[in-house]
Every structure is written in C-alpha cells, then in structure tokens.
C-alpha cells in the first residue's frame, strides 16, 4: 500500500489516484460538528480561529476517553456529510485534506477540486483498530467541547482510501 507523509502538499496530492488505498503518517487535527460550527461562525464574523488550517488535514472524529497508559480511546471516523455546509469555507482558509466516512455533497466535491485538496475515507466503525494507529493526542483548542474538542493527533500507517480529489 502506498505510504503518504503528512502534512500534505499539492504535489503529494497530484500523485494520488481516486480509489487508491493509502497509509497516512504524520500530524492531523480533529474537528467535528461543534468545532466546525465555531470555526464557521468565527470566520464569518471576521474573528481569528484558534488554529491555522493552512496545509492541515482534518480528521472527523470524536474519540472515547483514553484509558490509563493509552494514547487515545476508540477513534473511528464520523459521517463527513454533516460537515459539508462548513467545508468550502475551511478549504478557502487553506485546509488541504480531510478524513472521514461516507459521501460528500456536490458542492464539497467541487470545492475539493477547485482548491486542489483531497478527501479520504477510512473504516467506519473500526474505532478500536484505528486507535492503534494514533501515536500521540493532545487537545489544542475548544477543550470545553469534551469529545468534540480539537486534538492534534500524530498518526502512523493510518489506513485510508482516496475518495475525492
């Protein structure tokens, strides 16, 4: 399987093929429904968001708490389409990669192409398996959101399929 190092660049994305299975290694940010809404509202009202999205890959996940001695709990993907309404604006902010599950809207697919970004899917419902692919996890913003806080994750050989690019 093709190994991809994060952070992604447009040049790396150019080497990818639709439907290709890859293993991703490197830093990603997590964000799901509540964090997306906060990003969106902040950007729309001209405020700064607490993390830069430039060149970032967002993994749509809300993990279970880590047990003692573990890096993270169960951490499979959540349904990406719920983020669709917010995604084009985040792509405009420099977001370049997304990992989730399920189909995206036509608008999002168009925006992904327009900005030269990529959307990967991973295995929905395999949270325990995927937890072993996460090497570090640290909350970096919106701590009050609990499982929906923004984490910086370091992933290693994280399985994904190139869905839209």
């Amino acid at each position: 399987m093709k190994k991809i190092s994060l952070p992604l660049t447009k040049d790396i994305i150019k080497t990818l093929k639709q439907g290709e299975q890859v293993l991703l290694s490197g830093p990603v940010l997590t964000a799901r429904d509540a964090a997306h809404k906060r990003f969106f509202d902040a950007i729309k009202s001209g405020k700064k968001i607490p993390v830069s999205l430039k060149g970032e890959t967002i993994y749509y996940v809300g993990p279970t708490p880590a047990k003692e001695g573990e890096v993270i709990g169960s951490c499979g993907p959540t349904t990406s389409s719920r983020m669709d309404a917010f995604t084009p604006l985040l792509l405009k902010q420099g977001l370049i990669g997304m990992i989730g599950k399920g189909e995206r809207s036509k608008e999002v697919n168009r925006a992904i192409k327009k900005y030269g970004a990529v959307y990967f899917i991973t295995i929905g419902g395999a949270g325990a398996y995927l937890s072993e692919k996460v090497k570090s996890a640290k909350v970096v913003a919106y701590k009050d959101l609990g499982p929906e806080a923004i984490y910086r994750l370091e992933i290693k050989d994280f399985p994904a399929i190139t869905e839209v690019l």
Binding site: A34, G62, A66, G73, R82, K101, G102, I121, A128
Partner: protein
C-alpha cells in the same frame, strides 16, 4: 407470587449490559462478517471486512469501545406485574448507564437540549421504555445506538391501498440514499402498523432479533428476504467499497393498524449493532 427486586440489582444489570454491548460485538454479527469476508470478491471490501473483524477482536481483548460513537442509551424494561421494586427503578437505570460509560471509558455523546447542545458529560439521560407484563421478573433490553446510522433512518405514512412493492421500494431507496454513511454492512429494522410512534418504536426493537430468525408470519418473512436481496444488489458494500455485503439482515415487526393508515418506519443500524438483554 410477589417478588421483591432491589433497584441495585437493576443498576448493576444495566451497567454490565452497556459495557458488554459496547466492547463485545454480537456473536451472530461477527459470524456473519466472517462468512461475508470469505465470500466477498472485491479486494477493497475484503480488506474493510478484515479490519472490521480485527476491530472486534481488539475491542474485546482491550475492553475498548468497538466504535467511538458509544451511542445514546435506550433501555426497554418489561416489568412483571408481581414485582415490587425496592428503590427507584428509573434512577437505577440512569445510574447503571452513567457507571457503564464512566467505567468503560465510553464517549459522553448526549447534549442537554437539541438547540443549546451542551454536553451532559455523563451520557445521561437514557431513553427508558417500560411495559407491564405478567410474571414476577424484570426483562431488561438495552441498545447503545450510534447516530451515523440513526441519522439515515426514515418514516413514511403509506396509504392502506399502497402495494407491498411500494413499501419495499421505500426501504431499498432509504438504504441506497444512506450509502456508506451508516457504516455498512447494516441491519435494517422495520416497524409496520400501529401509529406513527408505534411503528418507529417497533423499528428499533426489530434490531434485537438474532440474525438466524425471521418474522413468524410467512408473508412478512418473505418480505424480509426479498428486501435483503434487493438491498444487497445495491452493491454499496462494506464502508461503501462495493461488493455483495451491504446488509446482513432485515427484521420487520408488525402491529395492527387503523383502517385509514399504514405507517412504516425504518431504523438503520450499523455493523456494530449493540444490543443485549437479561432477565432478573
């Protein structure tokens, strides 16, 4: 004969059930997945099934949640009319849920209000359905329902004259529109008849049924088989990667209904369908 059941017993039973369902995949589903893996011809779908099967083993071994969406807790109590509960029954259920989610390191996924949306940080409250039945026992059924699949569930009020084929079409189309969002392979629970709420309630209860069982009414069992066949022809496959393993079951529960109506509810459940029961 009247029997006294201490609410502490209910609390412990609820706790144990939620820990079990969230960490141990239902054996009938696991067996089905293994068989599907054997028969699947597409490489990517085989890979996805491999990961899903490995995931079940890791979760069980590490007592880790099968899926990070450890769901909203739904509890069905069938209380024998000769039972006298010592203590507060519903509080005991809530305590059992809170303990399971804390001790199991499960995700707190419940918000206090549909619009304000502040996390309750306890996975409370659960949804509790109670029913009074003959006897001196309490049957407790639990489901930890994830929302990836709950969100693609649907209801429609059909007309009495609508042919069964239009109901089939509605169900197959619902599975088609859901695509890979509900984490296929899926279990399709259907409630038919009653009122709007009764049909919806039945559709969720339907996913408790073991995969080797069908509805006892022959015409309904036939409908289940026919729908399953059609859904698997959609070729959505595991994680949407294509192939023959889109759904592992269709379970229909029915109830008498009104001369003017035919409510149909569809409750989609993911490959991590988390249900269990116990009688105390």
């Amino acid at each position: 004969m009247t029997k006294i059941i201490d609410s502490g017993l209910i609390k412990d039973a609820v706790k144990d059930l939620f820990i079990k369902v969230n960490t141990c995949l239902r054996p009938d589903i696991l067996s089905w997945l293994k068989l599907a893996r054997k028969n699947e011809t597409l490489k990517k779908s085989r890979y996805a099934l491999d990961v899903i099967i490995k995931n079940a083993f890791i979760a069980k071994k590490k007592m880790l949640a099968i899926c990070q969406d450890t769901g909203m807790a739904v509890v069905y109590l069938k209380v024998g009319q000769s039972v006298l509960v010592r203590g507060d029954l519903k509080k005991a259920v809530s305590k059992g849920v809170a303990l399971a989610y804390k001790q199991g390191y499960f995700r707190n996924s419940i918000v206090n209000d549909p619009l304000i949306r502040k996390n309750t940080n306890s996975n409370l409250p659960p949804i509790i359905y109670t029913d009074i039945v003959p006897g001196n026992k309490i049957n407790i059924k639990v489901v930890a329902k994830g929302f990836g699949c709950e969100n693609v569930s649907k209801t429609r009020m059909f007309k009495p004259g609508d042919p069964a084929s239009s109901i089939e079409e509605f169900i197959v189309n619902t599975a088609k529109e859901a695509g890979s969002r509900p984490c296929p392979p899926i279990y399709i629970g259907i409630g038919m008849g009653g009122t709007l709420d009764k049909a919806v309630s039945l559709s969720k209860e339907a996913i408790f049924r073991p995969l080797n069982k069908h509805n006892r009414d022959k015409h309904i069992a036939e409908l289940e088989k026919s729908i399953l066949k059609k859904v698997n022809k959609l070729k959505i496959g595991p994680i949407g990667a294509g192939g023959n393993s889109t759904a592992f079951g269709v379970s229909i529960l029915t109830y008498p209904t009104h001369i003017a109506g035919l409510p149909v509810a569809i409750n989609i459940s993911c490959h991590a369908t988390r249900t269990a029961e116990i009688t105390v």
